[in-house]
């Protein structure tokens, strides 16, 4: 049989490289792929620093996994031992305090980077066609991130861990008819206890690696379409692009440097400022702390939960607030991506960001009259933004003609 007849039967073994590199690459084409996708990958040359936060988030994820592995060497997932093993890490394990504070503070900065990253996607229209799947994988990771962070927060087995876990798992009891059975199935017990902390620990790991898996999908889908940029216009020629390496790698490293300097300041001078002091009291199933507050990054969603006076309704509103964001690529009717050229939508998005911060503020306040009222207004705007403003503004506003990347860069220079 001639080789012509078998064309396509085997992948080509020819590698662009020679020597050992070529030997490996012809059998495992990873080197070829990494070069094409990372070193020579073209990106629009108009990217600003908002585009660095995806990479920063990835650095956070890597840091969390590394510190998590080393914490795991000492942590004991049982109701009896968990709290004491964390205290042992803090007091007796060599550099244990550093590793744990890094893990705890990296989560917060992971969320900061992710919030900015999502804002970038909304403001510059990165969610719009053809990047819908990039965006949806991103939101899926965001939800997994919240689940992982919640599971991780229960592990130190302090009072906030315990009661946070109780309140959040009780959300499932809001499901009609089967709610309590599902809750028992999730906890493996009638309450949050030994069984729960054991499986939460396993799930904390599992979901962390699920996020890593989704990062791969996020990047594959991104590299099919290429990066969006501030203009929302696609590059018209090679002149409007730069190579990912060294241009973007250096820029992202620079941004990461500033970002992690801020993190280091918090880490070394105020390591507990983003946590809650009650979590240094061992879990007591008989006493509920007077004020249960979730971690700061959950507060906007907690505010939405509490804004609805009905238990099931509150739970539905909270979960659908994120799920609804996933519909944005189809609900936004405008043909223009970037808010730079959308006079009305731009303020809608900015207000959405401000509203997010307001919800974060009221979520940390007791559920009293004025705060409940504000959280209701905030919740209303959240859904109004997605379901009414996104389709409507697209029809009503007259966007400006988006600049090309070249013209945009020239106008910035001028």
């Amino acid at each position: 049989m001639s080789s012509d007849q078998l064309q396509g039967y085997k992948k080509t073994l020819n590698s662009p490289y020679t020597g050992i590199k070529g030997w490996i690459d012809s059998r495992l084409p990873l080197i070829r792929m990494m070069e094409a996708e990372y070193l020579k990958f073209p990106v629009p040359k108009s990217l600003n620093y908002f585009w660095s936060f995806g990479g920063i988030a990835m650095f956070c994820l890597i840091g969390l996994i590394l510190t998590g592995i080393f914490l795991g060497f000492h942590y004991k997932p049982s109701a009896e031992d968990a709290f004491d093993s964390v205290e042992r890490i803090m007091r007796d394990v060599s550099f244990g305090w550093l590793i744990r504070y890094l893990h705890a503070n990296l989560v917060s900065f992971f969320f900061i980077a992710t919030f900015i990253h999502i804002f970038r996607a909304l403001y510059f229209g990165s969610y719009k066609a053809p990047r819908e799947l990039v965006y949806i994988f991103g939101l899926t990771m965001f939800m997994l991130m919240m689940a992982t962070a919640f599971l991780g927060y229960t592990l130190p087995w302090g009072q906030m861990s315990y009661w946070g876990a109780t309140v959040i798992t009780n959300l499932f009891s809001a499901i009609p008819v089967v709610g309590d059975a599902i809750l028992q199935l999730l906890l493996g017990d009638f309450t949050v206890g030994d069984s729960a902390v054991n499986r939460f620990y396993v799930l904390h790991w599992l979901l962390a690696f699920a996020i890593v898996g989704l990062v791969v999908f996020h990047v594959i889908t991104l590299h099919m379409t290429g990066s969006n940029n501030p203009t929302g216009s696609e590059p018209q020629s090679w002149d409007e692009t730069v190579s990912f390496h060294p241009y973007v790698t250096i820029k992202d490293l620079n941004a990461a440097l500033f970002f992690f300097i801020i993190m280091a300041f918090i880490l070394f001078y105020y390591p507990n400022i983003l946590g809650h002091s009650d979590n240094y009291i061992k879990a007591n199933p008989m006493i509920t702390p007077a004020h249960i507050v979730p971690e700061w990054y959950f507060l906007p969603f907690y505010a939405i939960l509490r804004a609805i006076p009905d238990k099931l309704g509150g739970v539905i509103a909270m979960f659908s607030s994120i799920l609804a964001l996933g519909l944005l690529p189809w609900l936004d009717t405008s043909k223009v991506r970037s808010c730079l050229f959308r006079p009305i939508w731009r303020y809608c998005v900015l207000l959405f960001a401000v509203n997010f911060l307001v919800l974060m503020y009221v979520g940390g306040k007791p559920a009293e009259d004025i705060y409940v009222l504000i959280s209701r207004i905030g919740t209303a705007y959240w859904f109004l933004f997605i379901f009414v403003l996104a389709p409507l503004v697209g029809f009503l506003e007259t966007p400006r003609q988006p600049l090309t990347i070249t013209n945009y860069l020239q106008s910035k220079k001028a």
Partner: protein, 174 residues
């Protein structure tokens, strides 16, 4: 030939896939079931309590299935308030008589039906809420002297666990 054979082939494929699918799905049952409370957990499901040290007006918190159970030796006035409350005032209407076996002993789960916090009101110094029973500090639910929800986000009354009086002064919960 291929036309006449195709439906038969489809049928075999479909039934094989269905059978395989059902088999694979049923394999999930033991795994999901393993996540439920184990036999040792279920074995701890009953608790016996001696009520004799409890004076009228005092309360006791015991642990049953890892959850607090409130046992309240109710005073005459607390019983009367609970009995004389009109059902119209109750979000989750239930007669006091349906919630107690003996009027002076109220036994309820001490877990707020909203999101599972432990309400205050067991200690003499605790705030007991607007209705003289319990008050949940997490999201502000008020319960009355029969453990019924009166105000706040909790949807239902504090549940009454299954219990029996073994003697006049001894109960078994569970």
């Amino acid at each position: 030939m291929s036309n006449s054979r195709k439906p038969r082939r489809d049928f075999i494929k479909l039934s094989a896939m269905t059978l395989g699918g059902v088999g694979a799905a049923s394999l999930l049952i033991p795994f999901i079931s393993s996540m439920n409370p184990g036999k040792d957990t279920l074995a701890l499901a009953s608790t016996e309590i001696d009520l004799s040290p409890l004076e009228e007006g005092q309360s006791l918190t015991v642990i049953w299935r890892g959850k607090p159970v409130f046992i309240k030796h109710r005073t005459k006035s607390e019983i009367d308030t609970a009995k004389n409350t009109s059902l119209d005032e109750l979000p989750d209407a239930e007669e006091d008589s349906a919630r107690v076996q003996k009027d002076n002993w109220l036994v309820v789960l001490g877990v707020c039906t909203h999101l599972g916090c432990v309400p205050l009101g067991q200690k003499a110094s605790d705030t007991k809420g607007d209705y003289g029973g319990w008050f949940c500090p997490c999201h502000g639910s008020h319960y009355d002297t029969s453990g019924r929800i009166r105000k706040g986000p909790a949807p239902t009354n504090l549940p009454v666990p299954p219990y029996v009086f073994l003697t006049d002064n001894r109960i078994k919960i569970g």
